[in-house]
Amino acid sequence: MTNWETIIGLEIHAQLLTESKMFCSCSTKFGAKPNTNICPVCTGQPGVLPVTNKKAIALAIKTAIILNCKIEKTSIFARKNYFYPDLPKDFQISQYELPLAVNGFIDIEVEGVKKRIGITRVHLEEDAGKLVHKGSARIMGAGESLVDYNRTGTPLMEIVTEPDIRSSLEAKVFMETLQHLLQFIGVCDAKMEEGSLRCDANISIRPEGANKFGTKTEVKNMNSFRAVAKALEAEEKRHKEVLQEGGKIIQETRFFDDIAETTIGMRSKESAHDYRYFPEPDLVPIEPEHAWIEEIKKTIVELPTKKAERFEKDFELSKADAEFLTSTPAIADFFENCAKHYSKPKIAANWIMGDLAAYLNANNLTIDKIDFSPLKLAEMLGLIDKGTISGKIAKIVLAEILKTGKNVQDIIKDLGLTQISDESEINNIIDEIINNNPKQVAEFKSGKDPVIMFLVGQVMKASKGRVKPDMAQELLRRALS
């Protein structure tokens, strides 16, 4: 039995978070009525010319910086020529020779082991439109096909990795790490299911120790992290089976069938394109000035891995906690600001990861979209420490703040949630409890000491939790002695 080594390289497309399209000023907003975000330029009317969106270049440069790439002094756009109805000009403006940035890497961690994946290039291009077919899933055989050019011209960033990935799991982790990075620096919302982050893979296998690569196939249509893992697992298995039976792998493009969890070959004729790339004569080269790149560098926040390490150290958090708190820049900022105003970071972390996260999840919100400040959380936690409210009451207070956006103090006052510390007031409640529970009082007096806890519970209930339990116990014992 041969031991095989799997070689994977990924080609990722990420939609950039710009307001307007790559080469015109149309909105990139998702979900508009078909063919409303269009103009002569993005519908390829005769005579129009493209004008490059500077913001898109800035976002791609930002990405190139965090992917440790070399940003080229001169890069050029090229035309990729092919006919298709979702491509109004029948060529896509992309980059071919002289891409925006080259030679970078990302470090990933797979099952506790760190690994570096090389980035071959980062380049810019425009997205195509969307086709809807009637009577068939594909254009061939459809009775009618409609095209929506709203997405046409949306800025895309292509990221190509070196063939450094060795398993489907590594591929999945790479994609997750990349997603996290892109979201973290705010260049892409990077949702695979929604198509704002897409990925194709080149995969081949070779006998362990061999120098030469095997024949590769390209796998398309992987629309989730799970699909990336499943598709590459299936394709890896297929390669092994073919080769072990003495067969040959044909270089081709294969589609992943998400339901059957297998890959399906296309007719090689369809994938044997000659795109006739040549330099786009309607655009001038991109020559980013050093000062501009430095300016972009300044907008890059501390990256998640570094931040997590710092949180672990500075705030004495577990690795898992630190990773959670650095999952987005907004959460990290929230936590850090709260920790500035409250001295027990672990407790603040627990509240953020517990009640707050549960609320956000349940309501499908993110921390930057709610009317709640780290200062309010710090204030509330301070009130617990001071004994003004109990931890239990604090849960009610937090829920109320999130619901109404009111101040901590106002809520406590409005709902009458302050802890009762006046002994005579507590004794009034205790007298009532003793009167209403003669049986338990008798039991306690006959020596069944644990019954005290039942009575404490009754006091808590009657006071709606506003009495500190240890104080209730102490005063109960005094009253019953």
Binding site: G47, V48, L49, P85, P88, D274, F278, P281, D282, L283
Partner: protein, 483 residues
């Protein structure tokens, strides 16, 4: 009245001797009289013309500051987009195309209240040198209706020569302004690449195309260049630099002007009468105190083959969008997508366009790109360097605009190579992106000969001055065809 120039008419308008509506009516009367013979226009826009003429007259009456082209009838080559007005590129594939926007230069002229007479005929998608490749009809040379007006801006040149407009816009990819200007005995100026916005010019070869004036004299060329030159945000290849007032360069002096006569364009393949006229022109310059020396441009022999790789390569991609999906002609024989593409393009494009799309597709194909396209780019660089060297020695270069005077309709129609060679003097200028003007400098067998003056990049002023000085010393531009 319609035989006057724009600057003459401007004075008459300012002095209220004539109204724009009267000029416009006169031009349309001339069109009515002669258009059957000349066939310069694909579409006329009389309604829009009269509307602008009335507006212009209002503005003139109000005594506002009146720009030189206000109220002046101008013809526009039919490859420039005019919002809501049919724009065909003289191609069947765009027979029904109504652009949803105005080209930048169309908008600029409209803002000045110039009067658009109509859209002029061209070789389909500007591919040709005679208008015989028009998808509709061939325009006739007003000097001899049996000969071609040149091309591709043959409609604009013929309309100008036949007084069917006061001036016109052409576009020049390999000589398409200058060669028809030469054939029709008018002035044609191709500006430096990047001086005039290409936004709205339906692209033939993007790295070579440039819009420019076709006029009855050099002064009008300067006025029209003033109106259309300048940076446009919508055209990334337009150059952001201050635009001078080209009227200021109309100085009647060529004293100490260093002129290079391109010897490579004075030898084999050039008609004797043409050579004689150019030599005489050189002597006219010398008489004004200019210093004329011969200069050799050894890379010129590669210009035509270089051009016929780069231009078709870009065209094959530029013309891909005419696919029947979004606008223009769509074949009725469209059982599926592939056949819709095939049949639409088969029915919509003429044979020269198809030939160039095939050449362009071929030279960009895997395995041929390096041997053809890349090599052509290198040759283009060498041609540019030849010019750079020459402009260290000379202020301007001169040559014939075309190897011959206008040829007979049909004479070269079936011989594309000989047709391609008729652009030998103009093509190198486009490859180097330089400005050049063609102006009348004599006659052969009753047909006009054109003198080409080439300037260094953005040296339109020097080029115009040399042309103006020459014009002041000659009468060729005053000759008019008898229709």
């Amino acid at each position: 009245m319609n035989s006057l120039t724009a600057h003459e008419l401007h004075q008459l308008l300012l002095n209220k001797k004539v109204s724009s509506v009267e000029i416009t009516e006169a031009v349309f009367k001339q069109i009515e009289k002669n258009e059957d013979k000349v066939k310069a226009y694909v579409s006329l826009t009389k309604e829009k013309a009269l509307k602008n003429a009335e507006e212009a007259d209002k503005r003139i009456r109000s005594g506002e500051n009146i720009p030189p082209l206000c109220g002046i009838p101008i013809a526009i080559k039919d490859n420039m987009c005019t919002k809501g007005t049919r724009t065909t590129c003289s191609s069947k594939i765009l027979n029904n195309y109504l652009p949803p926007y105005d080209a930048t230069i169309v908008k600029k002229l409209d803002d000045l209240l110039a009067v658009p007479t109509g859209k002029t005929n061209l070789d389909e998608f500007a591919m040709g040198s005679s208008t015989e490749n028009s998808g509709y009809f061939t325009t006739k040379n007003p000097w001899d209706l049996k000969t071609v007006p040149g091309g591709s801006s043959g409609g604009s040149a013929a309309a100008t020569a036949a007084d069917e407009c006061i001036l016109a816009l052409g576009s020049d990819t390999g000589g398409s302004i200058r060669q028809p200007a030469s054939f029709c005995g008018v002035v044609g100026l191709k500006p430096t690449y990047g001086l005039v916005s290409r936004y709205g010019l339906i692209a033939f070869a993007s790295s070579l195309d440039q819009i420019g004036p076709i006029t009855k004299d050099v002064t009008d060329a300067a006025l029209l260049l003033n109106a259309i030159a300048g940076y446009d945000q919508k055209d990334s290849t337009s150059v952001n630099r201050p635009v001078p007032n080209y009227q200021n360069s109309l100085v009647n002096s060529a004293d100490k002007l260093r002129i290079g006569l391109i010897s490579d364009l004075m030898g084999k393949g050039i008609d004797e009468d043409v050579k004689k006229a150019i030599k005489t022109a050189a002597r006219v310059f010398e008489s004004m105190g200019a210093i004329v020396e011969e200069v050799s441009m050894p890379t010129f022999e590669y210009a035509v083959p270089t051009y016929y790789i780069i231009a078709p390569a870009e065209a094959s991609s530029n013309l891909a969008r005419f696919d029947g999906v979004k606008f223009g002609h769509r074949s009725k024989e469209a059982p599926d997508l592939i056949n819709m593409y095939y049949n639409t393009r088969k029915e919509g494009f003429g044979s020269e366009v198809k030939r160039r799309i095939m050449i362009g597709t071929y030279v960009l194909s895997a395995g041929y790109y390096d041997a053809f396209y890349l090599k052509a780019l290198k040759a283009r660089t060498l041609i540019k360097q030849d010019f750079e060297k020459a402009f260290k020695r000379f202020d301007i270069l001169i040559s014939p605009t075309a190897p011959s005077v206008a040829f007979k309709i049909g004479e070269k129609a079936n011989d594309p190579l000989s047709m391609y060679l008729s652009d030998i003097a103009t093509i190198p200028v486009n490859l180097a992106g330089l400005p050049a003007i063609s102006l009348p400098c004599g006659f052969s067998k009753g047909l006009p000969i054109g003198l080409q003056i080439i300037g260094d990049a953005f040296a339109e002023e020097k080029t115009l001055q040399a042309a103006f000085a020459y014009e002041q010393h000659t009468d060729w531009h005053k000759k008019r065809p008898k229709l």
